[in-house]
């Protein structure tokens, strides 16, 4: 068995593509790295949040008087303390719904919309007093019937979460009747009816997936100090400090410049820390108490009060000819948005058929509110659910046609110039190369070795994104440089961004010191997420380095008293065209402060050119016929990374995403009681896979350079969670003969399928 990870390279560089030590590694392995919970300010108070025990309830009154009277309690806040409470519907106009939903998810005003919904918060001298005070807050609820299933929520007569506030919006057309369906969208290409008429085989199935959590180890936390001069300082665990800053300022109705967010080290996010829950509440507590306040979530609060990935229902129908060509495809997706509109259903719809060259196709999506926490991003939001349906239907088409699943996918794969269902065409992409790597891999060529085993294949897609990033690079007198960035480092991005700066400057990686700083200290930078950071912040580092190069050329020209256009910068050497005059980067750095001052390169950009990314996974399983338990025997994940800037971290992203996908496929789900209460809100009962459950995840990095980035970077964090759900379901089907259309594929569900002949 081959277990070594492979990199199939297209272009070699000096620093990009190498595997240097991460700058934050020592602090993290020695426990010195500072996370939010480690912060301790002078006079710090400790906060706790009171949460709704009901999934759906009208809040008739909240009496905090007893809590406020408890010795040691310094502040109590409710929704009445948020600016929304003092703004009328007329004042907010068209912004009413947006602002109400935003404010209410921090502290509920008139309704609790999920168990765990924040109702009030307390700051006290210590956490024990704060906990005791929560018990003294008297909330009068009128308990209402919850709706927690997406299909039930779409029915006429379903309990309405938002009374008359939410109507179905269909690209500007709004329904007269209020509904839990917040929006609907549809895209078509070609003529699906004709495509299905031309098909020799047609497969149509329905699928469901459960709500799952990102499972980051570090719970949400925030420390805030609302100073007497109006400045609000916040330290927190977030994927996007600038988003926290802007939304906190919005919710509190203060100037953006009055809010400074310092992102602490982050103990995992996977999309779940793009959303945030504590920061404005903690700031309000601080203002009321006149002291800094720290609030930490516990694990149950994380499960019940922060956003999971949405549960979903899907119907997929695809047709193909005997020649193995897809003739038509359609998918209908309904995603749970949680308590407020905004599920990733259109991401799912956009990704659903992205791996296939379709002449005819249609996608429809419904965004549906239910009595669960508002859903948050989770690696490639929406795409894993869609792939769970589509990739199983493709597998069934292959079975009916008697063709190899990799060959079928190759026969229908998108490539440069292919037009997506929603319209735009792909630039240079690497799906074909990934499928070829799968077909040629030792794993795919090695037969299964025993009974009750099956092999599954699935593809996955994420479009990747650019968005805003900023970097400053300052040259020090010894030739080292400080690189200042706003991208929180979740998966090794300090290293991957420093590598791109080093490559551009032609200096050693070790001479670059990257630092993630607060929102006052660098230009706007979008979240670390969407597989954008190494692409966009890396590009900002390249441009900042280019700015440094330009300034060093001008400085050298000034020193030599020659025109700047006679000087060039080549691999860390500044040289006059005569070749008689030259400085190394360090030589020039030493002279900067005696020849005109220091040099700082800056860049802020919002780049285009995102590289669409594809992955193909192959998995072998064995299903115990007596217990129904599925064991992963072998797993290989292949992905086009564009250029892998730091291959070890790319492999880590691929392995991590695959493992999370395995958990999603086999174990994980929010299990709800009849009254909408989550019944498994601890890691003991919410079963995530551990290293003991899994074999080594083998990886193959395929490098098809993205022409939209200077070093060909595409981004890697999203795609690897897309294929596992379907790949495992396909493998289980081969092992058992049972098509598992509902997640998770638990031992119980496998046995049930066996007993019911499903």
């Amino acid at each position: 068995m081959t277990t070594a990870n492979q990199v199939l390279s297209e272009v070699e560089y000096d620093v990009v593509g190498k595997r240097p030590v991460r700058p934050d590694g020592v602090d993290k392995v020695t426990g010195r790295a500072q996370y939010g919970a480690d912060l301790n300010l002078t006079g710090l108070l400790h906060g706790r949040v009171l949460r709704s025990p009901h999934a759906h309830a009208r809040i008739k009154s909240v009496d905090v008087s007893k809590a406020e009277a408890l010795p040691g309690v310094r502040a109590v806040v409710t929704a009445a303390d948020l600016p929304f409470a003092s703004l009328s519907k007329d004042e907010l106009g068209n912004d009413y719904n947006r602002f109400k939903f935003l404010s209410d998810n921090f502290l509920a005003s008139n309704k609790a919309l999920y168990r765990g919904h924040a109702i009030a918060a307390v700051a006290a001298d210590n956490a024990h007093v704060a906990e005791a005070a929560l018990a003294l807050i008297d909330v009068d609820y009128e308990v209402l019937e919850p709706v927690i299933d997406v299909r039930a929520a779409m029915q006429d007569g379903a309990p309405l979460l938002h009374d008359d506030l939410v109507h179905t919006s269909a690209m500007g057309e709004v329904s007269e009747k209020p509904s839990n369906v917040a929006s609907y969208m549809k895209f078509e290409k070609g003529d699906n009816a004709a495509g299905f008429a031309a098909a020799d085989v047609i497969v149509e199935r329905e699928f469901t997936t459960a709500s799952v959590h990102q499972g980051y180890i570090e719970p949400h936390n925030a420390t805030a100090h609302w100073r007497a001069d109006g400045q609000i300082n916040v330290w927190c665990s977030t994927q996007g400090a600038f988003v926290v800053r802007n939304i906190t300022a919005d919710v509190l109705r203060v100037d953006v410049s009055e809010v400074r967010i310092t992102p602490m080290e982050i103990g995992g996010g996977f999309g779940g820390k793009v959303a945030f829950y504590l920061e404005p509440v903690t700031a309000l507590l601080s203002r009321k108490a006149g002291a800094p306040v720290k609030v930490l979530m516990g694990r149950t609060e994380v499960f019940e009060g922060s956003g999971p990935a949405p549960g979903s229902w899907m119907r997929v129908k695809m047709g193909a000819s005997r020649a193995g060509k897809i003739t038509a495809a359609e998918i209908e997706l309904a995603f749970e948005a949680g308590a407020y509109p905004g599920s990733p259903v259109m991401q799912g719809a956009t990704c659903a058929f992205a791996c296939y060259e379709l002449g005819n196709g249609a996608v429809e999506g419904y965004d549906v509110v239910v009595n669960k926490p508002k859903t948050a991003a989770y690696r490639a939001p929406g795409s894993p659910q869609a792939a769970f349906g589509v990739e199983q239907v493709v597998d069934e088409l292959c079975q009916q046609l008697g063709v190899d699943p990799v060959e079928f996918r190759l026969n229908n794969a998108v490539k440069e110039g292919s037009r997506k269902v929603e319209g735009p065409v792909f630039q240079k992409i690497g799906l074909v190369e990934c499928l070829e790597a799968a077909r040629n891999h030792d794993h795919y060529r090695t037969p299964l070795s025993g009974p009750n085993q099956g092999r599954g294949v699935a593809s996955g897609f994420w479009m990747n994104r650019g968005f805003h990033s900023s970097v400053n690079i300052t040259v020090n007198p010894d030739g080292t440089v400080n690189l200042i960035e706003g991208s929180v480092d979740i998966g090794g991005s300090r290293a991957s961004i420093a590598q791109q700066a080093a490559e551009t400057l032609g200096i050693a990686y070790e001479d670059i010191k990257p630092q993630v700083v607060d929102t006052d200290s660098i230009g706007f930078t979008m979240v670390t997420g969407g597989s954008r950071t190494t692409f966009a912040t890396g590009w900002a580092a390249i441009l900042a380095a280019e700015d440094v190069k330009t300034q060093t050329v001008e400085r050298a020209a000034s020193i030599w008293e020659v025109p700047a256009d006679e000087v060039e910068y080549d691999s860390g050497v500044i040289r006059h065209k005569s070749e008689e005059l030259s400085f190394t980067f360090k030589d020039l750095a030493r002279q900067l402060y005696t020849t005109g001052g220091g040099i700082t390169g800056t860049a802020s950009l919002d780049p285009t050119g995102e590289g669409n990314s594809f992955g193909v996974h192959v998995v072998d399983v064995e299903v115990d016929p007596d217990t129904g338990k599925t064991e992963i025997l072998r797993y290989t994940a292949i992905q086009d990374a564009g250029k892998a800037v730091h291959p070890s971290y790319v492999e880590g992203q691929i392995q991590g995403g695959a493992v999370q996908g395995i958990g999603w496929a086999l174990n994980e789900e929010y299990y709800f009681g009849d009254n909408g209460q989550m019944m498994n809100s601890s890691f003991l009962d919410y079963r995530m896979p551990t290293s003991l459950d899994l074999p080594m995840i083998d990886t193959v990095i395929v490098e098809v350079a993205n022409p939209g980035h200077p070093y060909g970077v595409r981004g890697v964090g999203e795609v690897p969670i897309v294929p596992p759900l379907a790949a495992i379901a396909n493998a289980v089907e081969q092992a058992t003969g049972k098509r598992m259309t509902n997640l998770p594929i638990t031992p119980g569900s496998v046995l049930e399928a066996e007993w019911n002949g499903g």
Partner: protein, 87 residues
């Protein structure tokens, strides 16, 4: 002239026309031109003076960073696609 692909959900407003050629130097002018041909369609694409929050405009396959101000080449392809973020 730019080649504008009419979103499926707006094709009722165009009498089933899926694709039209429209003159304009930026996305705003393209939408205005589209609205001249099919009155009312701009209101389905624009809200509060900008592209609807759940929509994005793709010009030659790239999501327009400048929204209505995005420049449009003479032979550009224009699509209205779902606005999406990531994790």
């Amino acid at each position: 002239m730019a080649r504008v692909f009419v979103p499926t959900m707006l094709q009722a407003a165009t009498g089933g026309v899926k694709e039209v050629e429209v003159e304009g130097r930026n996305v705003r002018q393209i939408i205005e031109g589209l609205d001249d041909m099919f009155p009312g369609i701009a209101g389905r694409l624009i809200e509060d003076g900008d592209i609807r929050s759940n929509l994005a405009v793709a010009v030659d396959g790239e999501v327009a960073r400048m929204g209505l101000m995005e420049r449009v080449g003479e032979t550009a392809e224009i699509h209205f696609v779902p606005a999406i973020g990531g994790g």
